[in-house]
Amino acid sequence: MTDVAVRAVRLGKLYRVGERQPYNTIRDVITASARARLRRLGRPSNGSAHDPSTEAKSMWALRDVSLELREGEALGIIGRNGSGKSTLLKILSRITEPTEGHAVISGRVGSLLEVGTGFHPELTGRENISLNGAILGMPRADIQRKFDEIVSFAGIERYIDTPVKRYSTGMHARLAFAVAAHLEPDILIVDEVLAVGDAEFQKRCMGKMGDAARSGRTVLFVSHNMAAIESLCSRTIWLEGGRCAADGTSSEVISRYLATCLSVLSDHVWPEPELAPGNDRVRIRRARVRPEQGEPEDQISVATPFVIEFEYWNMREGARLNLSLHVYNEHGVIVFNAIPTEELVWHGRPFPRGLFRDTCHVPANLLNEGVHRIELLVVADSCHVIHRMEDILVFEVRDIDDSRDGWYERRVGAVRPRLAWETEHLVAIDSTASGDA
């Protein structure tokens, strides 16, 4: 038995894009071929078969991806939208053919790409379990044997004889995952299951995938949930524009990924005052977010105190300026508005012309995880907004492992404070007394 479960060599996939719909009607084909013929008539000397217009309409969704995965290894795959993650999984699960390169896969593959794979809405949950098991290549005897386990894992006992079209999206996904999780394939391929389902179900999914990995199965897991990837996979690859940008331990690859995702927006410098945003009263020179301690490019987590810093030119002698920051979370909620009322030296005083720097200190355990945006307002005389910039900074506050406590979904809420808390055992229940009553 070989030790390598998946060996991919320079996989590439070329997609034709451009037209609104990839499939044609016969009319389109006729008109297109007529047009091509006319074009050829127009340029008889052009002997080259290479048509630049087809080149423009194709796109490498995946290019040059090589990968070797040992048996029992759990691999996370991350990357922006459209970076080729699903394409890679589709090639490895044989749904689509690579355009170049090849992959050797040893063992039975069970793949779960998105949700509700292969369910027929008219059939009941029970019937769909059998059908879906067969589609995923599960022997009938196995389906029968695991039937009760699948139903209880999905938690849909009461709906088992209801047509699937009456299921909620979440129930649909639970059933789909339950079937796939009980396939016991040698290689489990999972694409973003955690996007649906409630927190409790997500936890069970993660548990099941963890079990699969621990029992020696190979897992390939695509997700945008970095916490889930980090806790399940020891190794992660990062795809960028269809190419493999990094391959290494999960924590390392994830922090590099997040850093490049956002660094462009967490530090802006406009060295030339004439070209800087602003007007004849104020010009911005620099805006950045950095951790209170350590390197400026270090990640900010929920447990990191950090500073928001602005440098700006005051162009008018004697202006009474103050900055006002609106910090938005990714839901568009203003988490807080900060103004320098606690600032002692300059607040409320007339500013001479020149360069100023304001630094706002944000304590640890205030913001929740997620991407935050800052809107900057420059205010004169405490009431006139003289300059306003939306999204001047965008930065991510990361989750950290130790405060999650086995909870894989993000904690809800705009803020995530750590609050003092006491639990006291006040009265013990006497077991003999309560048992007799």
């Binding site: 689509t96 992959a103 896969i105 790409l113 589609i135 290549g137």
Partner: protein
């Protein structure tokens, strides 16, 4: 966990070039899926329609009544030695099977696009299961045909023994046409709208409402190019004691064989891009 009991099998994925291998062995590995997809197609059809299995009877019976009144009585189309209703019904049973099988198979891939985009299995199973599912309706209608023959006191001859072969020929023809249509349908979505029209035309060029003896002498063998002509003439021969179809049937078998081989090759060739197009 039983993972080590069977030898680990290794799969290679790579771009296939030109005409690809048929991989019939793989179909055998997926035989359970054949069963499930066929079963599903039957179940869904009977669940979705209020009349359920009654459709399988109503469709050919109503057509037979209309044909008997308009073609048999009013137009006076000859039906040989047997009464016109049973003459028409013996053709309508295989015809209805063929018509519903190609419609079901032709649209099968497009209707399964969600599965095609997300799971791998040999795609050939999808249209084949659709044809197999249509055989159930055929079985029900066939029982009605036997009842009708009983009513008219028609006893089949020894030619009845070729009937299983004729059913196979009808199924092979339906599969051949279904493979072409389903693969083309993925690429050219107007096929979907062309199917009902094509079925209608095909009905008129097949000897359903009239005997193929109406076709004049030099053309009757050529008539077998329409494989359904061979099938229908064969049914009338096997069940009603009509003239043996001879050359017509032989040509039909050849045409079906060619159509099926071409359909399989075309389907396999197109198969690799199905998931990208749907």
């Amino acid at each position: 966990m039983g993972r080590t009991t069977s030898a680990r099998h290794t799969t290679t994925v790579q771009p296939s070039s030109g005409w690809v291998a048929m991989r019939f062995g793989e179909l055998w590995d997926y035989r359970e899926l054949f069963y499930f997809l066929t079963w599903r197609d039957i179940k869904v059809r009977y669940k979705q329609t209020a009349l359920g299995a009654a459709w399988a009877v109503l469709q050919p019976v109503l057509t037979m009544i209309v044909f008997s009144v308009f073609f048999g009585k009013l137009a006076g189309i000859p039906s040989g030695d047997v009464p016109y209703p049973v003459f028409a019904f013996a053709a309508l049973v295989p015809w209805t099977f063929f018509a519903s099988a190609i419609a079901l198979a032709g649209n099968s891939l497009v209707e399964q696009e969600r599965i095609l985009a997300k799971v791998y299995f040999p795609r050939l199973i999808v249209p084949t299961a659709a044809v197999l599912a249509s055989l159930v309706d055929f079985g029900i209608a066939f029982v009605v045909l036997l009842g009708l023959m009983l009513v008219y006191g028609i006893v089949p001859s020894a030619a009845l023994l070729v009937l299983p072969f004729l059913v196979l020929l009808a199924a092979a023809t339906a599969l051949a046409v279904g493979l072409w249509l389903s693969a083309l349908n993925v690429k050219y979505r107007d096929i979907r709208y062309a199917i009902p029209f094509a079925v209608q035309l095909w009905l008129f060029i097949s000897p359903v409402a009239y005997p193929s003896s109406l076709v004049p002498e030099p053309w009757d063998a050529v008539y077998g190019i329409n494989p359904m002509a061979g099938v229908i003439d064969g049914f009338r021969w096997a069940l009603l004691g009509a003239e043996p179809p001879g050359a017509t049937l032989a040509i039909s078998v050849l045409v079906t064989g060619g159509l099926l081989a071409g359909g399989l090759l075309y389907f396999r060739r197109m198969e690799r891009s199905f998931a990208d197009i749907v």
